[in-house]
Symmetry: C2
Subunit: 154 residues, 2 copies
Amino acid sequence: MKVGAKPISGLDVLRAVSEGLVESSPAAALLGWKALTLEPGRVRVRYTARREFANPQGAVQGGFLAAMLDDAMGPALFTTLAAEDFAPTIEMKVNFLRPARPGPLVAEGRVVHQTRSLAFLEGTLTTEEGDLIATATATARVLSAEANGSGHPG
Amino acid sequence: MKVGAKPISGLDVLRAVSEGLVESSPAAALLGWKALTLEPGRVRVRYTARREFANPQGAVQGGFLAAMLDDAMGPALFTTLAAEDFAPTIEMKVNFLRPARPGPLVAEGRVVHQTRSLAFLEGTLTTEEGDLIATATATARVLSAEANGSGHPG
């Protein structure tokens, strides 16, 4: 995807999503994804944890916290890629430090280290007041559209 | 919680949820949780991954797969506890082996090892045809209501 001679970056796509010019993914929409900071290798996202995400104790079920962390770490990596590149998460580890109530939560995703084919990511999830809820690390496989001739090499 | 002299077990609660006599948690309802097998230390659950769980590639976002694994591993442990006990997941590791499309998925949760205060769990998520989508391990902290005088010691 090129406009004139300038290739579109993942960061451009994320900025367009953040400005409402491009639709966010269904998962991001469900989680209430809203970009707070978008810079190369680091993003901050505000979420709204819905009551539908609650476990029997009324806290947000851990998987939904993992989903929020994943949707911050993935974009942190995507800021460093071309718009057509694809980088599926191959493994993720989450530590649940405190229960979270439905409502606003803030996630930060960061690229820790990156090669042509792999990326090591980390993330934190906090309340709006900055209380740590969960931390995560993840590994993503980087599939370059240019190298593969397709944006979605499966 | 006692009926006559017989204390109610976590397994009793899960059976009641499975029979529609007790409401499932909001998270379980959102994921389409439906018990296939409920036995001490092992549960199998059928989910329906919604289109709202999809990432930009149309596959189910990894966090929602983690949520499905969490909601099978937690109940596997709960089958071994008293109804009032509480066992929050303190950490979880997920390996994403294959992308999953929206639709039916099957999770199995198992208790690998358990002490009075900790439980080590594992889970697998497959298609209805048995193709492996993701695997997980998790650690839960067991908080006995009897020892703590409350079902929800925070």
